[in-house]
């Protein structure tokens, strides 16, 4: 087997992971703090927004999506859009039930 490196592998340094991890911990702290403040319906919106931001970092850096081919990105967008359609249609349908 040849000695040269995989063309497709991308080595992410430990320091970068620690940086992302600290960011994720900070976002967790923000979520917990914000949940203690009564902002009505905004509380859940903010909590979900922060959860999405955290997921974005996990997907891109921990799961290496940032360094994957375009087709992986198309896949994940398709999967998420499908999920959003399910969610959207459920609530749309529910709005007629009441």
């Amino acid at each position: 087997m040849s000695e040269h490196q995989h063309e497709e592998s991308h080595v992410i340094e430990y320091g970068n992971y620690i940086f992302i991890w600290l960011g994720l911990l900070a976002f967790t702290g923000i979520t917990v703090t914000v949940s203690g403040i009564d902002l009505g319906n905004w509380t859940i919106a903010i909590a979900l927004f922060i959860a999405c931001v955290k997921s974005w970092y996990v997907l891109n850096y921990f799961m290496h999506m940032k360094y994957e081919d375009k087709v992986f990105k198309i896949f994940i967008v398709t999967a998420l859009v499908t999920f959003m359609i399910f969610l959207g249609f459920t609530f749309w349908d529910y709005s007629f039930v009441r």
Binding site: V11, V58, M63, I76
Partner: protein, 207 residues
Amino acid sequence: MSSTDQAVLQHGHRDDYGSRMGMWLFLFTELILFGGLFIIYAVYRYMHQQEFHMAAQELNTTIGLINTIALLTSSMTAAMSITAMQKGNIRFSKGLIWITIGFAFMFMVNKFFEWSAKINHGIFPGSKDLLAKPDGEILYFGLYYVMTGLHTFHVIIGVIFFLFILRQIKQGKIHSTRYVRLENSALYWHLVDLIWIFLFPLFYLIH
């Protein structure tokens, strides 16, 4: 030349690219599995907002927070184990996998105490105390047990994957130029982390 062609040229029958793609496709089926439950949660919470708030008071936010930190940290160590493997530092990679497994056990021990406390208070599916509560609270705890239960089941599977990986490293089947199984196990572990990122605010942080 695509990276798939390169992978084939370099390593004969191997196709790491296809292997990772297969793992991602599997992860999308997990999105459907948990996604369905999240949709049920969304509709019931919308129908029973007050009762969901009341029921959520029963959960211990501190344990939830500790488990969040445990999973985030384990996700980092899982990702780092790949870097260590790529650099040929196999001992360090194994150490990081063991740390990941350690955090998984920490998570499960916390979950055990959490569920035990609930069950001791008479809150478990079908219990007299729970059925005496309003509909919204029954639904909340039903979803709590199903969603956190299914999630913890995934934690157990993740640990089994990592033990399997450790064995293959020992056998020399996984090494610095062949580690796609480690990558895929780590992807699975990150999914467990991702689901918890949503479970934590939705169950523990409704005040």
